[in-house]
């Protein structure tokens, strides 16, 4: 297949070169170089990084999850409303967030295995349902995030920002899971070819359900970080997150067809996106032009990184 040689153009290592070049270019701006600003970029990118790491599992498995954005929004709203600023409610709020994320992922996984419809359509449907639920619950900001969650999202531990540390731990865990465990191998195998994986004795349904649960939990953790940053339960908080997460995964060199890619690439791509936003902000470029730039980055990323098959629409 000639497709393979095309696919070698900018995979695996490519994103690191782009990130390095972007860092070097950004380094020319004095404001960018300050430690405070760099910590800021990492902190602001944390929620997206967590979501994108979760999405990496899903896409490596040959699936996709569009529902995570609205799920994040739902968790932001519920956590803030339930906690209402009280630190004593921290544990119930955490349990609620993780439980809801895992539950939603499990339902998506179950529907995926039972209905056998394309995951794009399925999660597109669940996204619509979740959006309806969020805005039926509230169409304005509610509640307040407890101080502990705000610390998680915006605080410091021994002088280091907490959120990037959390991302580092989660990403390292995800990397090890995908490269060193049996489950990780199974995810890649299912993504590389479901029928062959099944013939090799892998329980493909269980693998698919598990990656959706991982994606749901990542939305829960991302939701906690967003709630901590915003401080209130803003119902629009999660809108568009699903696209950003998918863009980061694709930009990081993971194939939408499944089977090939890495968590490290995804994290590098998230940093690149965060850095681009930060630089455009420092240069005081209007948010409208930033939106255009973001669209062009998505288009560029897909053109460079995704040598689609004849009918690959996913």
């Amino acid at each position: 297949m000639p497709v393979v040689s095309r696919s070698m153009r900018l995979t695996d290592r490519g994103i690191y070169w782009v990130l390095a070049a972007a860092l070097a270019a950004a380094g020319l701006i004095p404001e960018f170089r300050s430690l405070g600003n760099l910590a800021n970029v990492a902190t602001q990118s944390a929620a997206l990084a967590v979501l994108a790491v979760g999405q990496t599992f899903v896409i490596l498995c040959g699936l996709i999850d569009l529902s995570v954005g609205q799920l994040t929004g739902l968790i932001v709203v519920l956590v803030c409303d339930v906690a209402a600023g009280r630190d004593a409610m921290m544990a119930p709020a955490l349990l609620l967030a993780i439980g809801l994320g895992a539950g939603s992922g499990a339902v998506t996984g179950l529907l995926n295995n039972r209905l056998r419809i394309h995951p794009l359509i399925l999660t597109f449907g669940t996204m619509s349902v979740l959006q309806g639920i969020v805005f039926t619950y509230t169409d304005r900001s509610v509640g307040r995030a407890p101080a502990a969650i705000a610390w998680l999202a915006d605080g410091r531990l021994l002088g280091l920002p907490v959120a990037p540390l959390l991302v580092l731990v989660l990403a390292a865990g995800a990397h090890v899971t995908l490269t060193r465990t049996r489950f990780g191998m199974h995810v890649r195998a299912v993504g590389g070819g479901r029928d062959n994986a099944r013939r090799a004795g892998i329980d493909t349904d269980r693998v698919a359900a598990t990656v959706f649960v991982i994606s749901g939990v990542s939305a829960a953790i991302g939701g906690l970080l967003v709630a901590g940053r915003l401080g209130v339960g803003y119902p629009h908080a999660g809108a568009g997150f699903e696209l950003d997460a998918i863009v980061a995964v694709v930009l990081g060199g993971t194939s939408l067809a499944g089977g090939r890619g890495s968590v490290a690439g995804t994290v590098a791509a998230v940093l690149l996106l965060g850095l681009t936003n930060n630089v455009l902000n420092l240069l005081q470029i209007s948010s409208f032009i930033q939106m255009l730039v973001k669209g062009l980055i998505v288009i560029g990323a897909i053109l460079v990184n995704q040598p689609g098959g004849r009918r690959a629409f996913a």
């Binding site: 419809i117 255009l292 288009i299 689609g308 690959a312």
Partner: protein
């Protein structure tokens, strides 16, 4: 074991059942539409009044125009999620160019349609050239187009609709059928005709169901891809103009989410992501099912947010039903 006499009969039976299965599949969504209308009529007698029904078609026209284009793209095995953004841009551009002068209408509409077609053309070229995933690529186009729209409009609603523009499109012919509804039905009929009788229309099905065979049959896949996406962009721009005519609003995000409604209508109508199946006729039925459902939710006193839940459930259930139908055969 079949004897000589039995064989033709068996073959005939297979053909008949094959035909009827295809017929059932095509008719299924219309049956669903009638059933839904029947249920809706139990809740409100508005659903049996022609004037209300035609008004519903008028309401559905902007999404419907875009859905026609998305259907053609999906029959070919692609997808176009940039239509919501194109609708928004088209509404803003048309309003700004009209600038409240009736004399500007022709020029404004021509320029708007050209811009829509140009965005579709760009989508088509990138997809044909790179064979990139149209799903993500057109999502990217959508973000870029929203950015362009905001840069163009300065982030607020801009432009003044020319006098007579909205009046013309919303007047009811014979006191019954709004011009917008008629325009949509005409566009849909034309599209059905094109897909059934023209070489271009038939080619879409061939490329969608078997790209390899299509290439061997001498079809130029890249050219067809570009043409179809261009048509989709053009129809989305027409949807934007329709939206402007219907509501008079030209805000930056006027068409946000319309791509989802269009996709829901197309999938409901029996056109699949795999391509090669379905068509514009089914999409019209799917669109009406969606809008009857929306109107019913409205009449029952539930709000827009509940409509999103209903739309999501409908998308999942309909797709699952079609998967079941096709895997049985």
């Amino acid at each position: 074991m079949s004897t000589e006499a039995e064989r033709p009969r068996v073959r005939m039976a297979a053909i008949v059942s094959g035909l009827s299965a295809g017929w059932l599949e095509r008719a299924a969504i219309w049956v669903v539409l009638l059933a839904l209308l029947g249920v809706a009529a139990l809740f409100s007698d508005a659903f049996v009044q022609p004037i209300y029904l035609f008004n519903m078609v008028r309401q559905a026209a902007p999404v419907g125009m875009a859905a026609i284009g998305v259907t053609l793209v999906m029959v070919m095995g692609g997808v176009d999620l940039s239509v919501g953004a194109v609708i928004s841009l088209a509404a803003v551009v048309a309003a700004v160019l009209m600038d409240g002068q009736a004399g500007n209408i022709g020029y404004a509409l021509a320029a708007t349609l050209t811009i829509g077609a140009a965005i579709g053309f760009a989508n088509g070229v990138l997809i044909a050239w790179n064979r990139a995933s149209p799903f993500i690529l057109t999502l990217g186009t959508a973000v870029a187009v929203y950015g362009l729209t905001q840069i163009y409009s300065g982030g607020t609603a801009r432009g003044i609709v020319a006098p007579g523009f909205r009046e013309f499109f919303n007047q009811r012919i014979g006191g019954l059928v709004p011009v917008l509804a008629l325009l949509f039905l005409a566009a849909a009929s034309l599209a059905v005709l094109v897909q059934r009788t023209t070489r271009f229309g038939r080619s879409l099905y061939l490329v969608g169901s078997n790209p390899g065979a299509a290439r061997l049959a001498g079809l130029h896949g890249a050219r067809l891809t570009v043409a179809t996406y261009t048509l989709s962009g053009l129809l989305a721009a027409l949807g934007g103009i329709t939206l402007l005519a219907r509501s008079g609003v030209s805000s930056t995000f006027a068409g946000r989410g319309f791509e989802f409604d269009a996709l829901a209508a197309v999938v409901l109508g029996g056109t699949t992501f795999e391509g090669g199946r379905g068509g514009v006729g089914g999409t019209v039925a799917g669109l009406l099912v969606l809008f009857v459902a929306f109107n019913l939710v409205n009449i029952l006193g539930l709000n827009y947010n509940t409509q999103r839940v209903v739309a999501g459930v409908i998308i999942i259930v309909a797709s699952a039903a079609y998967t079941l139908l096709t895997s049985r055969r």
